[in-house]
């Protein structure tokens, strides 16, 4: 049974920002501001998502995964 994408994305985020209250995360908020994620974190985020979904996210698409809602939609569109 396929895990809900949102849950998967939150788990990957949880490894990057363990102190954050992810349950309260606004799905439209920019993660880089909300969670103080820098470029290293963003790369690890992309790596984590690749590990979990097999989807390789090109650097040019980083802005599209910068919000929780955007990220889920992006992965869904790519067949995650």
């Amino acid at each position: 049974m396929k895990r809900p994408l949102r849950e998967l994305v939150l788990e990957v985020l949880g490894a990057i920002a363990p102190e954050a209250d992810l349950a309260a995360l606004d799905p439209r908020a920019d993660l880089r501001d909300e969670l103080e994620i820098d470029s290293m974190d963003l790369l690890h985020f992309a790596i984590g998502l690749h590990e979990q979904t097999g989807i390789e996210i090109p650097e040019s698409d980083y802005p599209r995964i910068a919000t929780l809602a955007g990220c889920v939609a992006y992965l869904e569109a790519r067949g995650a």
Binding site: P18, D33, L43, H44, E51, P58
Partner: protein, 433 residues
């Protein structure tokens, strides 16, 4: 007990990795020490056979207190050379004529920091030690993620069969090579809990405790206050057109899998290191009233700790490592810094420091030098700016480089030379690889 910070007075041994009878060589990790700010793996300076452990885990001792006795010499061994507790005695650094580091193998100066198997009788009061670090000399073809997983699981990469392109070892290969969650190549490296294969822990598993964060902030406060008290700073800045570097980086990353992607930061670090190799007056320490140039370029990297606070552990021999190796090592260093788990050589060996603020940060940074270093290089956020060249006006991605330098050790001439070298290195990014 080595001095692992300018303001460190005491330390507590958490775990011993060696016991009586073990043979150690220089650079081996012998103990895990808590210094309030961080858990530091202590690398021993001397070689010999361990005769006696003097301090049991859990006991707090002052800096300078003997921790163990080595048989060879009969005197108490220390984790620092006897003559001083600070940076190692230098030889002046020769400017490197070959600025292009095209070889894939890093120079043989890199030590393999391998923890000695710990006798099972030693209690484990706190967190698990890092797994053996893959030797950089013979470079096993493996993805950076595979290396990280191998480290976390204590797997010897050279024994893993790779299923990636050209036999490259991938993270899944490392996990698949594990017979059981706690089985590791180095037999006595125990894991505190089984490692779940699918779990990714890129920077931290747990947030740092309030005490740890407070201690880190205190450490920074003391260092910065001392810096401003003692160091007469001067500041220079230079803007650089980054279009070539960014184009090169984009192309380089298109050829790499996501796990192998390079961040702009490693280009900045490499460029700075090569420049420091060329301008030795800015690479070293102010000790006892004079400048002592360093023999190598070990760059302190300012790393923001989640929850607030700053650490600046050293990446070693940055001028001699390929970008791919630097990326892997930086990623590893950032992850450990954010867990406040570092090695003594990382805490002590920086010969200059780099602070690089993100694109979402300010235009430029005028940093404060970490004593007893004499230079701090700052990189601001990338900005689209009007740029005049050859009488024409365009828009380019521009980066501001700033130098904060100790006016006792150098003046604007050396400072300018350094900035220009960095700029030139960034304008010829293919030479950085």
């Amino acid at each position: 007990m080595p001095s692992l910070g300018a303001d460190m007075e005491v330390g507590t041994v958490l775990t011993w990795y060696v016991g009586p009878g073990d043979v150690v060589k220089r650079g081996d990790i012998v103990a895990l020490v808590d210094t309030e700010k961080a858990e530091i793996e202590i690398e021993i300076w001397n070689a010999g056979r361990v005769a006696r452990i003097l301090v049991e885990p859990g006991r707090e001792v002052p800096v300078g207190a003997p921790l163990l006795v080595l048989e060879e010499t009969g005197e108490a061994a220390s984790a620092a050379p006897k003559s001083e507790r600070g940076p190692r005695p230098p030889a002046p650094l020769r400017p490197s004529s070959a600025t292009s580091a095209t070889s894939a193998k890093p120079a043989a100066v890199v030590d393999a920091r391998i923890p000695i198997p710990r006798p099972s009788s030693v209690p484990v009061p706190s967190e698990v030690p890092s797994a053996p670090r893959a030797p950089s000399r013979e470079r096993v073809r493996a993805t950076p993620l595979a290396r990280r997983v191998a480290r976390e699981l204590g797997v010897d990469l050279s024994r893993v069969t790779g299923t990636g392109p050209e036999g490259r070892v991938r993270a899944d290969d490392v996990r698949a090579s594990q017979p059981a969650p706690t089985a590791v190549a180095s037999p006595a490296t125990e894991t505190a809990a089984p490692v779940a294969p699918a779990r990714l822990a890129p920077s931290a598993d747990q947030p740092l405790s309030a005490e740890r964060l407070a201690a880190i902030r205190r450490g920074m406060a003391n260092a910065m206050a001392r810096s401003k008290r003692e160091i007469p700073h001067y500041y220079l800045e230079l803007d650089v057109d980054m279009s070539r570097a960014l184009a090169w980086l984009e192309a380089a990353n298109r050829e790499r899998s996501v796990e192998q992607r390079l961040l702009l930061q490693v280009l900045l670090l490499k460029a700075t290191a090569l420049a420091l190799a060329d301008v030795p007056d800015l690479n070293g320490h102010w000790l006892d009233g004079r400048f002592v140039p360093a023999a190598s370029v070990h760059l302190g990297v300012a790393i923001a700790v989640r929850g607030g606070g700053l650490l600046a552990p050293a990446l070693h021999d940055v001028d001699r490592r390929s970008l791919d190796v630097l990326m892997h090592d930086l990623s590893d260093l950032v992850a450990r810094a954010r867990r406040a788990q570092l090695r003594s050589s990382e805490v002590r060996d920086a010969t200059a420091t780099v602070t690089s603020l993100s694109d979402r940060g300010p235009d430029r940074v005028y940093g404060v030098i970490y004593p007893p270093q004499v230079a701090l290089v700052g990189f601001g956020g990338l900005r689209e700016r009007p740029w005049a060249q050859a009488g024409m006006l365009g828009v380019r991605p521009v980066l501001s480089i700033t130098l904060s330098a100790d006016h006792r050790a150098s003046d604007g001439q050396q400072g300018t030379r350094l900035l220009r070298r960095i700029a030139r290195a960034l304008e010829e990014p293919e030479k950085l690889a």
